[in-house]
């Protein structure tokens, strides 16, 4: 039995790669070949679809917009979650358990419920169609997640570290920045990874809160799919390009992913 153990993960990975391969395959084909025949690999290899994306500002701005709000969101979420996670892991205070649970309930709110109220809220404060608005909206589910993950990591750090530092005359902010943050840097990496991930993949809120200036790449794709008919090759090329940032980020945190999922105490 042991000898054939590798079969299951291998088949699973092949299953995972098939649709991705098909997307890449389509992205290198001409529209004629896609619609005219069924071919397992591109016969007339073309980079035309990618050229269109890299030369048309509505396309490549979509990528910049997405990366901008994802970046802002990750920075906001992690930086406000750091002190809060420290408070939850070190101190008992009035209403701490209720507060923690309330934060987590926001992870359970369907984005569809919040789409319309968010639109009205951010229009009212005149932030509609800005990167900040999307970043703030995504913070609704990313802050609780970041607090949850960081709290798990911080609870693993012995309290003696804090006490020794205070005895040595460190003030809280100096201790936090100089000593504590370097100790939990891998936790920060994992939290940032998850914030990046959930902000990067979400579309409903990002689409509702933007129209032109901050339109995410995902929404640009939806528009192409619906208005200019069946440009499958272009759609496939744009889709393939959205996989790259994710793959890049996973590669960097590969050793911490499993750990990040396991920590935290629901």
């Amino acid at each position: 039995m042991k000898r054939y153990k590798w079969l299951a993960p291998t088949f699973y990975i092949v299953f995972l790669m098939l649709p991705i391969y098909w997307l890449l395959n389509m992205s290198f084909k001409t529209t004629n070949e896609i619609l005219g025949s069924f071919t397992l690999w591109p016969r007339k290899f073309t980079l035309e679809n990618y050229t269109t994306i890299f030369t048309d500002p509505t396309w490549y701005n979509g990528y910049f917009n997405s990366l901008t709000y994802v970046g802002i969101n990750t920075i906001i979420s992690v930086s406000v979650a750091l002190p809060a996670a420290y408070a939850f892991s070190r101190y008992r205070f009035l209403g701490d358990k209720h507060l923690f649970f309330w934060l987590l309930t926001n992870r359970m709110a369907p984005p569809a419920v919040f789409a319309l109220p968010f639109f009205q809220l951010y229009s009212a404060v005149e932030m509609f169609d800005t990167h900040i608005a999307v970043a703030m909206a995504h913070a609704l589910f990313n802050i609780p997640l970041a607090v949850w993950i960081l709290e798990g990591f911080m609870s693993g750090v012995p309290k003696e570290l804090d006490e020794t530092a205070y005895v040595d005359g460190y003030s809280f902010p100096r201790f936090f920045i100089k000593i504590f943050i370097p100790v939990i840097i891998s936790g920060i990496g994992v939290a940032a990874f998850f914030c990046f991930m959930f902000s990067w993949v979400e579309l409903l809120l990002a689409k509702t809160l933007t129209s032109v200036a901050a339109k995410p790449i995902a929404a640009v794709m939806t528009r192409t799919a619906s208005t200019s008919g069946y440009e499958l090759g272009l759609l496939a090329a744009a889709g393939s390009l959205t996989i790259i940032p994710g793959a890049f980020v996973i590669y960097f945190v590969r050793n911490y992913i499993a750990k990040g999922f396991a920590l935290g105490r629901v």
Partner: protein, 288 residues
């Protein structure tokens, strides 16, 4: 772990999070609550409606149908993804160069934007030019997800298994790698069978992460919107119209604010209650 000290100033550290989340959660939630009790004909004029919308939604066949579809979908998803994910995690290598390769490849679907997942499966499953659709049809199955409800369900479920099983795998794998080597050595000395090792060492040790996996998969599959929307648009007919798709149709499509708001609150409450019940029950079990 360590003793916590009581210190009310800790509230200062939590304030930024509370302010940000409250701004994002409470104001929109109050807007929804507000709409759910009122009727409007535009121009910001509202009339008190009491619990009328709630009664209407609870009695409507449309809501009941979406809810049933949603429950069936989530049940199938959990029944497939949890055992499948655990099985894959159990058969993964524990050490060596292949671990990173497996983890990176498996995590890949999790980082693809949800509408790209939908678009990718749309292309992959097209009956005439998609790899999956073409293969199924040439094997003699009559498969067309744009026309047949059964094919549409099959595709949506397969897509979700593709998309999210890796989350269960990663979580279970994390649980497994926290088991000390000594446990396995002890089992070996006692002559435990491979099945006994799984049943009495590995599964109990994975319990905690499995609860997290179950909760996350329950919440996310219950809220699913983008992937089936891009793949099937809720069709054919209403065959794959799940709760979120239905809700967006009512709220942003028809702009029926009252019913949409009432529906939102009922929807949110169902998720909260289920998570709370499941969590209390499993944790009570653990305490015994």
């Amino acid at each position: 772990m360590t003793q916590k000290t009581t210190h009310q100033k800790a509230w200062l550290l939590v304030t930024p999070v509370v302010v940000l989340v409250a701004f994002n959660a409470l104001i929109p939630l109050m807007t929804v609550v507000n709409y759910s009790f009122q009727e409007t004909f535009g121009n910001n004029i509202f009339f008190w409606e009491g619990t009328h919308w709630f009664e209407e939604v609870l009695h409507s066949d449309r809501f009941a149908a979406s809810l049933v579809r949603q429950i069936v979908f989530t049940t199938i998803i959990l029944l497939i993804e949890i055992p499948f994910g655990v099985a894959i995690a159990l058969s993964m290598p524990r050490k060596g160069p292949w671990v990173s390769v497996c983890l990176v490849m498996m995590a890949l679907p999790l980082l693809i934007p949800w509408n790209v997942v939908g678009a990718m499966w749309n292309i992959f499953a097209l009956p005439d030019i998609g790899l999956l659709g073409k293969t199924l049809n040439s094997l003699g199955f009559d498969y067309d997800y744009t026309q047949q409800p059964f094919s549409a369900w099959f595709t949506v479920i397969l897509m979700d298994v593709w998309h999210w099983t890796s989350l269960v795998v990663l979580l279970s794998y994390a649980g497994l790698s926290s088991i000390p080597e000594a446990y396995y050595q002890a089992a070996k000395i006692d002559g435990a069978s491979p099945w006994a090792i799984i049943r009495y060492i590995e599964l109990p040790k994975m319990k905690r992460v499995l609860i997290i996996a179950f909760l996350l998969r329950f919440m996310d599959s219950f809220m699913i919107y983008t992937e089936p929307f891009v793949l099937t648009g809720g069709g054919p007919g209403n065959a794959t119209t799940f709760l979120s798709i239905d809700l967006v149709k009512v709220a942003l499509g028809q702009f029926d604010l009252g019913p949409a708001a009432a529906m939102s609150l009922i929807y949110f409450l169902i998720i909260l209650l289920t998570c709370w019940l499941f969590y209390t029950l499993t944790m009570k079990d653990e305490a015994q």
